[in-house]
C-alpha cells in the first residue's frame, strides 16, 4: 500500500514542518493538520459541546493557522499557538451565537463511550453528568484550565499557562484548588449514595 504524504508517520518536529510550509510545502501543513486535528477537535468540542459546530470551528482554526503562519513566532510551541487560535475561535463562536458557555447533558452523553456493558455505560454517563455539572459551577478561567488539561493528555501546566496568558504557578494554583473542590463534591455524592 502506498501512503500519501499526509499518512506518512510524522517524524519531523513542528518547527521544521512550519519552516517547510513557509517555504511553500503545503504537504508539510497537511502533516501538521494530521498531527493536531484530533487534539484541536477534542478541545473545541469540550468548549462547545456540539460536534458539528466543533468540526466547522476546527477547520477554521487550521485555515486561520495556515493563513497567519507567517506571524507565528518560532520561539514558542506551535501547538500552544494553535490552541490559542482554537480558544479564540471557540470563544468567538459562543459570543457571536450568543450562546452561554454551558453544558448540554444530552450533547455530552451523545458522545458515546465504547464501554460494552449497560452497567459500564450507565456509570460512564453518570460520571460525565457529574463532571459537566461540576464544570457549570466553575468560572471561565478554571473551566479553561480543566478543559485544556484533560481534553489533551500532552498539555503541561506551562503549555496551559502560555495558551491562557497566565503564569504557570497561577495555573497550578487554580488547577489544584478546583480538584480539591471536585474531591469534596465526590465525597458528598458518595455519602448520599451510602445513605
Amino acid at each position: 500500500m502506498v501512503l500519501s504524504s499526509c499518512e506518512v508517520l510524522v517524524l519531523k518536529d513542528d518547527m521544521s514542518l512550519v519552516k517547510e510550509v513557509l517555504c511553500g510545502s503545503a504537504e508539510s501543513f497537511c502533516l501538521l493538520v494530521n498531527k493536531y486535528e484530533n487534539q484541536v477537535y477534542r478541545y473545541v468540542c469540550s468548549m462547545l459541546n456540539d460536534r458539528e459546530t466543533s468540526r466547522d470551528i476546527c477547520q477554521e482554526v487550521f485555515i486561520t493557522a495556515y493563513n497567519k503562519l507567517y506571524t507565528y513566532s518560532l520561539d514558542s510551541k506551535f501547538s500552544n499557538w494553535l490552541f490559542k487560535i482554537a480558544r479564540n475561535k471557540s470563544i468567538d463562536y459562543m459570543r457571536k451565537s450568543k450562546k452561554v458557555r454551558q453544558v448540554s447533558i444530552d450533547d455530552v452523553l451523545d458522545m458515546e463511550s465504547r464501554e460494552e456493558s449497560p452497567e459500564q455505560r450507565a456509570q460512564f454517563d453518570e460520571t460525565k453528568r457529574l463532571v459537566y455539572k461540576f464544570m457549570e459551577t466553575l468560572n471561565d478561567k478554571d473551566r479553561d484550565i480543566l478543559t485544556l488539561k484533560y481534553s489533551n493528555a500532552t498539555m503541561t501546566f506551562n503549555d496551559i499557562a502560555q495558551v491562557l496568558n497566565m503564569t504557570e504557578a497561577g495555573v497550578k494554583r487554580r488547577f489544584y484548588r478546583v480538584r480539591d473542590r471536585f474531591r469534596s463534591l465526590l465525597s458528598v455524592v458518595e455519602e448520599r449514595c451510602r445513605v
Binding site: 517555504c23 486535528e37 477537535y41 454551558q102 501546566f157
Partner: protein, 509 residues
C-alpha cells in the same frame, strides 16, 4: 521519605513534574505505606474521572483534513524572495506602520503635539461614492466611560457595589443608547447618555430569569430584540434525571430598564428552536426545528398565537411587522396573518427576510427581489458573478448580520432595512466582518503573531484604520453603538469597582 513529604509532592508526581530520583522515592514509599498508596489511588481516580468525561474516541472524530487542505491557498507561501520579503514585511507591518505614523505625526502635527489628546478631527465621514482622500479620521479617540451609576431597583433588579470577579463578560447588544452585557451569572443593562458620556447600569441576576443550577436549569440562548427593549431567554431544564430532558422556553420582556414584565412559554421538547423578532420588535416567534407548532407573541396586544406547522428540518423563521411568518426548511413556506395562517408553499429560495412594508425579500441568481401579491420586483441587481456566501444556520441562533454576497474581490451586504451596500474588500468569514448600523463602515478582526486579536475599521472604499490595542484584549469584544462609535469590553484591566472588565467607547469622527 516520610508521609508529609509524600503528600506535599503528590500533585507534582501525578502530573509528571518530578525528577527521576524523586519519582523513584515516591514509588518506593507507596510500596511501604498503605495509607499513602490509597491516597495516590484516590487522586488517580479523580484524574481518570475527568479524563473519561472529556474523552472522545478517535473513531468518533471525522477528519476534516481534506476539506482544510482544499480550502487553503497552497501557493500562498514559497521560496521566492518576493514572497519572503512580502511576508517578512507583513509580519512587522504593524511596527512599520506605527513608526511611519509617528514620523508623519511629528512632521505634520508637530506644533500641535501638546494637544494630542485634545479635540477630535472634525472632518466628516465620507459619503458613498465620494473620495475619502483626507476625509477619513486620522485617529481614533478612545474614551473610558465613567463608572456607571448603580441605582437601587425593584426586587428583580439587584444593585451591586461590586460585581463578582472571574466571570467572562460579552456584549450581546449595542444600539439605541443601550448596552447589554452578559456573563454566566449576571446580565448588565446600561442606559447611556452619549452626549455627556454618562450612563446608568442595572445588574440582573440570571437566576431571577429562571437560571437555577440547583434545579438543573441553564440558559441556552439569549436573544435581544432589535430595539433593545426586550429579550428572549431560553432556559434548558436538565431535570430529566438521565431520561428525557425537557426544555422550558421563557420569553422575558423588560421595558426601558424601568419596569420588568415577564412572559413565560413552556414547551415540552428537547430539540433546538428557531426564533426571530420582527424588525420593529413587536412580534417574537419561535418554532421547534423539527416542526409541530409555531408560537407567535404579539407584545403590543400581549397575545400569544399557536399555529400548527408540521414540517421538519426548519432552518430559519422570519416574522414581519404585520405578524406574517415565513419559514425556511427544505422548501420555503409563508403563513400570512390575514388568512388565519394557512400555509402557502413558496417557489423561491434564499429568503433574506421581510422589509418594513411586510414584503418578502429574496435572492435569486444575482438579483434581489421583493415579493408582493404573488408578483416579484427586482430591487437590486448585482450581476451573476456575485454569490450568496452568508447563509442561515440550523439552530435557534438568530443572525442579525446581513446577507453577504461576494464575487471574490468585493463584498456586498444587504438587509431589507438598509438595502444593498458595497465594500471593496474581499470577504473572508474568519475576519468576522461586523457592520455599522448604516453599513458605511465595517469592523474586521485579525490575529497577530501571538494569536491575539486585533481590529480594524474599514470604509466602503477600502480605507482602513487600526483600532488601539492595549492590555489583555484577547477577550475583548466590540459592538457598534451607533454609526460612528464602537463600544469595547476588555477583561483584566482597569478593574476598579465594576468587576474585572472595563468598557470603552471609541468615537470615529
Amino acid at each position: 521519605m516520610d508521609c508529609i513529604v509524600f503528600k506535599n509532592r503528590l500533585n507534582d508526581y501525578l502530573h509528571d513534574n518530578l525528577s527521576g530520583d524523586m519519582e523513584s522515592m515516591m514509588k518506593s514509599h507507596m510500596k511501604e505505606c498503605e495509607p499513602c498508596k490509597r491516597l495516590y489511588d484516590e487522586e488517580t481516580a479523580i484524574d481518570d474521572t475527568f479524563k473519561s468525561a472529556f474523552s472522545i474516541d478517535d473513531r468518533d472524530i471525522k477528519s476534516s483534513r481534506e476539506l482544510i487542505m482544499n480550502a487553503i491557498d497552497k501557493n500562498r507561501y514559497g521560496k521566492s524572495p518576493f514572497k519572503k520579503v512580502y511576508f517578512g514585511f507583513r509580519k512587522r507591518a504593524f511596527a512599520y506602520a506605527a513608526c511611519a505614523a509617528l514620523l508623519l505625526l511629528v512632521i505634520v502635527k508637530g506644533p500641535y503635539l501638546s494637544n494630542l489628546f485634545g479635540s477630535y478631527n472634525n472632518a466628516g465621514l465620507p459619503m458613498p461614492g465620494q473620495s475619502t482622500a483626507g476625509k477619513f479620521p486620522d485617529r481614533v479617540v478612545s474614551e473610558a466611560l465613567p463608572l456607571p451609576k448603580i441605582i437601587p431597583s425593584v426586587v428583580l433588579w439587584q444593585a451591586y457595589t461590586k460585581l463578582p470577579k472571574g466571570l467572562s463578560w460579552s456584549i450581546i447588544y449595542g444600539g439605541n443608547n443601550k448596552l447589554m452585557i452578559f456573563s454566566s451569572k449576571l446580565l448588565l443593562l446600561y442606559s447611556l447618555n452619549l452626549s455627556d458620556n454618562t450612563g446608568t447600569m442595572k445588574a440582573l441576576e440570571l437566576d431571577e430569569l429562571g437560571y437555577d443550577y440547583e434545579s438543573g436549569e441553564v440558559i441556552t440562548m439569549f436573544e435581544p430584540s432589535p430595539d433593545g427593549n426586550s429579550a428572549a431567554i431560553w432556559n434548558s431544564d436538565m431535570n430529566g434525571g438521565g431520561s428525557v430532558a425537557g426544555v422550558n422556553s421563557s420569553l422575558c420582556l423588560y421595558n426601558n430598564f424601568d419596569t420588568f414584565k415577564r412572559k413565560i412559554f413552556k414547551r415540552a421538547t428537547d430539540s433546538k428552536l428557531a426564533c426571530a423578532w420582527s424588525p420593529s420588535s413587536r412580534y417574537f416567534g419561535f418554532v421547534d426545528i423539527n416542526g409541530g407548532s409555531i408560537t407567535l407573541y404579539d407584545s403590543v396586544d400581549d397575545k400569544t398565537t399557536d399555529i400548527p406547522f408540521n414540517v421538519g428540518n426548519i432552518k430559519s423563521i422570519f416574522i414581519s411587522d404585520f405578524g406574517d411568518i415565513t419559514i425556511a426548511a427544505d422548501k420555503n413556506y409563508e403563513l400570512p396573518k390575514g388568512t388565519g395562517y394557512h400555509i402557502d408553499e413558496l417557489g423561491i429560495n434564499d429568503i433574506l427576510g421581510y422589509n418594513k412594508d411586510g414584503r418578502i425579500v429574496y435572492y435569486y441568481n444575482g438579483k434581489i427581489y421583493e415579493r408582493a401579491g404573488g408578483a416579484a420586483r427586482i430591487i437590486a441587481d448585482m450581476g451573476s458573478s456575485f454569490s450568496l456566501v452568508k447563509k442561515y444556520k440550523v439552530t435557534g441562533v438568530f443572525e442579525t448580520s446581513p446577507a453577504i454576497f461576494t464575487d471574490g474581490k468585493s463584498t456586498k451586504v444587504y438587509t431589507p432595512d438598509s438595502g444593498l451596500t458595497s465594500f471593496s474588500f474581499s470577504y473572508d468569514p474568519t475576519d468576522r466582518p461586523m457592520f455599522s448600523p448604516d453599513f458605511k463602515l465595517c469592523l474586521l478582526t485579525d490575529n497577530n503573531k501571538d494569536g491575539i486579536e486585533s481590529y480594524s475599521v474599514i470604509t466602503q472604499e477600502g480605507n482602513s484604520i487600526k483600532l488601539p490595542q492595549e492590555g489583555n484584549s484577547i477577550m475583548s469584544n466590540y459592538v457598534w453603538l451607533d454609526n460612528t462609535s464602537l463600544v469595547r469590553i476588555r477583561h483584566g484591566v482597569h478593574a476598579q469597582s465594576i468587576g474585572d472588565f472595563s468598557i470603552d467607547r471609541m468615537v470615529l469622527k
